[in-house]
Every structure is written in structure tokens, then in C-alpha cells.
């Protein structure tokens, strides 16, 4: 689905990502863990070029999207992204939040978009919020809406950048629940998170990142049960 080759990213002198090589196959659920500042989020953001890589290639569905002349907007439609701070559009109703992109991109007519939005809102039990504004929702509700907003474009893959880190603890479950449903339906997912329970339960593969490199990777059983890398052991001993 997506292949990253020799990916490097620096902000000025500071090297955030150092020579990352990774392949995510269709249907995989890859969870990226690691200490803060390790480059997890930057890695994720490089996948849809919200962060422009300093060096290296990102190949999505056979297209090297770092090349000039690639229509990045078309690529991004196929890669949903969910942010830590939801980033809903506060001046639009929930319905408008969901339908703006599909209508503007001429993927759906207004009626069709409204129907699809209601269908997805029903799935996350928020259909009664269609006409309210983001400001009236709880964090958990906002994040579920944000997920649904990405799903409106029927993406082939979803990127999650610490989707539960800004939530009150009692709301984490409802968001992870939606993500688990997505995983069960076969969505290809890359998730940066601190929710080790989610990683254990849902991940097909766990990547441990530290200081701009992927230090170790494997199944959840391997990483959580028998980590080989010293840094992984140290990190897990702190968070588990």
C-alpha cells in the first residue's frame, strides 16, 4: 500500500528522521510507539506529505508521491488523516464538516453526500449531532466526527496521529472503539499512539521508534512480550 524508502527529515540542523525504510501492506494495522520527540508523528506526516521529506521516497499505491508533478491532492483523498487535536472546522456544522470535501472535490452531489454522512454518523451513534457545531461536542465526539470526516472520501488507508492523546480518559474508549471497528472491516491503518492496550489488541505489527530511527519492530507479542532492543525495553518498562 505504502512504501517509504531512505526517508530523511530535518528541521534546520535537527535531524528528526534518519533513513527510514518501511513497507505497509494492504490490510495491515501498524502501530508506531516510542518516546516523545522520537519522530513518530513526523514519520506519519511524511506519508501524506503534510511534512515534506528532506530526502527519500514515499510510494503510495505504485506512485512516488515525492516526485514533482504528482497531484498530491488526489493522493491525499485516498489517505485519511486523524489529528491529535481533531481539527474540525468550527465555523461549519457537523454535517458541513463531513460533506465539504466530497462536494468541493465533486466526488458526490450534495444529496448523496448528506446521505453518506448520515449513514456514517449512524455508525458512530452521532446522527443526532448533524446540525450542531463542533464547539458543542465533547472531545470524544469530536474525534469520532473527525474519523468519519476522513471516511467520507472512502480512503484506502488511514493515518492516526495520537488520536486519543488530547482526550479526557473516559472518552478514550469510544474513539478506540471506532478505530477497532475500522480495523475489523479491513482498513489499512498506521497509528501513532500511547495506547499500548490498543496496540496489543489491534496491531498486526508494532514499530518502536527512537531518535529518528525504527529501532525494533515485530508482532505485538514480540514487542511487548520479548523486546530485544535495550531502548525498547527501557521505554516499555516506563509506560507499561
Amino acid at each position: 500500500m505504502i512504501t517509504v524508502k531512505n526517508l530523511c527529515k530535518s528541521f534546520g540542523e535537527h535531524e528528526v528522521l534518519i533513513d527510514i525504510n518501511e513497507h505497509i501492506a494492504p490490510g495491515e494495522k501498524v502501530v508506531i510507539i516510542g518516546p516523545s520527540g522520537s519522530g513518530k508523528s513526523t514519520f506519519l506526516r511524511c506519508m501524506n506529505l503534510l511534512e515534506q521529506p528532506t530526502k527519500g521516497q514515499v510510494i503510495f499505491d505504485g506512485t512516488d508521491i515525492t516526485e514533482k508533478g504528482v497531484n498530491i491532492n488526489e493522493i491525499r483523498q485516498q489517505m485519511g488523516m486523524v489529528f491529535q487535536h481533531f481539527n474540525l472546522f468550527p465555523h461549519l456544522t457537523i454535517m458541513e464538516n463531513l460533506t465539504l470535501a466530497p462536494i468541493e472535490l465533486k466526488l458526490m452531489g450534495r444529496e448523496q453526500a448528506n446521505e453518506e454522512a448520515l449513514r456514517l454518523l449512524n455508525l458512530v451513534n452521532l446522527s443526532e449531532k448533524a446540525d450542531t457545531y463542533p464547539g458543542q461536542l465533547s472531545g470524544g465526539q469530536k474525534q469520532r466526527i473527525a474519523i468519519v470526516r476522513s471516511l467520507m472520501l472512502k480512503p484506502k488507508m488511514m493515518l492516526f496521529d495520537e488520536p486519543t492523546s488530547a482526550l479526557d480518559p473516559e472518552m478514550v474508549g469510544e474513539v478506540l472503539g471506532v478505530m477497532k471497528d475500522l480495523a475489523r472491516d479491513g482498513m489499512t491503518m498506521a497509528v501513532v499512539t500511547h495506547e499500548m492496550g490498543f496496540a496489543r489488541e489491534v496491531a498486526t505489527r508494532v514499530l518502536f521508534m527512537d531518535e529518528g530511527r525504527i529501532r525494533e519492530q515485530g508482532t505485538p507479542e514480540q514487542i511487548f512480550g520479548n523486546p530485544q532492543n535495550e531502548r525498547t525495553q527501557e521505554f516499555l518498562s516506563k509506560v507499561l
Binding site: L50, F83, F89, E104, Q136
Partner: protein, 242 residues
């Protein structure tokens, strides 16, 4: 004859006799036309310049490579020159330059005034809009882009509507400034409100009533806009926690 009687005669002499009040009314009309058209022109220029400036600042060095980046750099350069020159020189001088030099061939004084004040106001509006755009969380742009919307579409549908709301008080303020600034129109012989009052003063050798009337009219208009802004702000604040 008492004081009130004297005052009445004076006012009749200043305003009613020879229909002198028409100077004020016609002047008010000119002031209103110049202000409104200049305001529209200023808003258009302001939005365009603000978007160019922020687009340039938000794309890093790397993003500016290639033909598109070069065009953006050139546009940004002209915008900066424009802002520096317009904000660095008095509106009065700009008006005189426009009338006697750049548009010396034009006999349409209203046009000269509209262009001058529109171009002048545009510089201030641009900086107001720019601060408004910068005040929007960068996550909004990222969310728009991550959904596959282009930079322009995201700007138009997501960033600008929120930015306008944030800068509305500053915009109304600029509009008030603009209204009062048009009072220098008289220097190119355009009979605006201020000039109208001044003509009456010249004809009657009575300064107080006509000039006071002019001041009062400006004041009433400004107070009306301030009131309107207050209402608008209250309405927008309500929509914040709908």
C-alpha cells in the same frame, strides 16, 4: 431679538438661503460614494495581498522552487513594496500625486479619489487580513489539505471565513478611518462633505454652524457603524458556543 432668534436667523442665512444646505447634502453623497467604492476596492486588494503574503510565508524555501514558486516570490516582492510605499507616505500626498501626476489626464475626480483611497486602504486591510489568517490554528489548513482540498480551496472555504470573523472589529475600524480620511478630497477640488461645509463658510463668512454640522454628520455615521459593529460582534460571539 433674543439669542434664539439670532441663532435662527444665522442658521437660515447659513443653510437655507440660496439652498446652501445642498452643498452639505451633495458633499455627503460624494463622501458616501467615495468611501463605499474605496472600501470595496480596498477589501479586494487587501484579501489578494494578504493571501499572497501568507502563501509565500507558509511555503518554505523548498516549496518555492520551480516556476510556481518563482511567480509567488515575485508577487510577494511587489506586495511588500506596495505595503511599504503606501503605509510609509501620507494619504494626502498619494492623492495629490494621483491627481496631478499618475491620473493627470483623468477629469473624473471621483474616480481619482476612489482609486487613491482604495489603494491606500487596501494596504491596511491586507495587514489586518494577514493577522487574521495567521490567527487561525495551522491544524485547520492541515485538516483541509489532508482531505485533498487544494491550498486555494482550503483558504477560501476554511481559513478565510474564520479569519474574517476574527478581524471584523479591526475591519470596521479601518472603514471608519477611511471615511474620515476622505475629508482631504477637497484638495483635488472634489466637493465632498468637508468641502461642502467649507464652501458655505467661504460664502457666508460664518464658520461655526457649517463646520459643526459637518463634524456632526461624520460623528453620526461613525457612531452608527460602531453600533452596528457592536451588534455584529455580539451575534458572532453567540455563534461561538452554539
Amino acid at each position: 431679538m433674543g439669542f434664539l432668534g439670532e441663532l435662527k436667523e444665522r442658521l437660515i442665512f447659513d443653510f437655507i438661503e440660496k439652498q446652501r444646505y445642498l452643498y452639505i447634502l451633495k458633499g455627503l453623497r460624494v463622501t458616501a460614494i467615495v468611501t463605499l467604492l474605496a472600501l470595496v476596492l480596498g477589501l479586494v486588494i487587501g484579501v489578494v495581498v494578504a493571501v499572497i503574503r501568507t502563501a509565500h510565508d507558509q511555503t518554505g524555501e523548498k516549496g518555492r522552487q520551480g516556476a510556481g514558486g518563482f511567480v509567488l516570490s515575485v508577487l510577494n516582492f511587489f506586495c511588500r513594496v506596495y505595503l511599504t510605499v503606501i503605509r510609509g507616505t501620507p494619504a494626502m500626498v498619494q492623492l495629490l500625486l494621483m491627481f496631478f501626476v499618475f491620473l493627470a489626464s483623468s477629469t473624473n475626480k471621483v474616480l481619482v479619489a476612489v482609486l487613491t483611497f482604495g489603494i491606500n486602504s487596501g494596504a491596511y486591510v491586507a495587514e489586518i487580513f494577514r493577522s487574521g489568517i495567521m490567527s487561525i490554528d495551522k491544524g485547520q489548513m492541515e485538516a483541509g489539505r489532508s482531505l485533498g482540498l487544494g491550498y486555494g480551496k482550503t483558504m477560501q472555504k476554511i481559513i478565510l471565513p474564520q479569519a474574517v470573523k476574527n478581524v471584523l472589529p479591526a475591519l470596521v475600524n479601518e472603514m471608519i478611518t477611511l471615511l474620515k480620511e476622505t475629508s482631504i478630497c477637497g484638495y483635488i477640488g472634489l466637493n465632498d462633505l468637508t468641502r461642502g461645509g467649507d464652501i458655505i463658510r467661504g460664502n457666508t463668512f460664518d464658520a461655526l454652524p457649517p463646520l459643526l454640522a459637518v463634524a456632526a454628520i461624520y460623528l453620526v455615521i461613525v457612531m452608527f457603524f460602531t453600533w452596528l459593529m457592536g451588534r455584529l460582534e455580539r451575534r458572532l460571539r453567540e455563534s461561538d458556543n452554539r
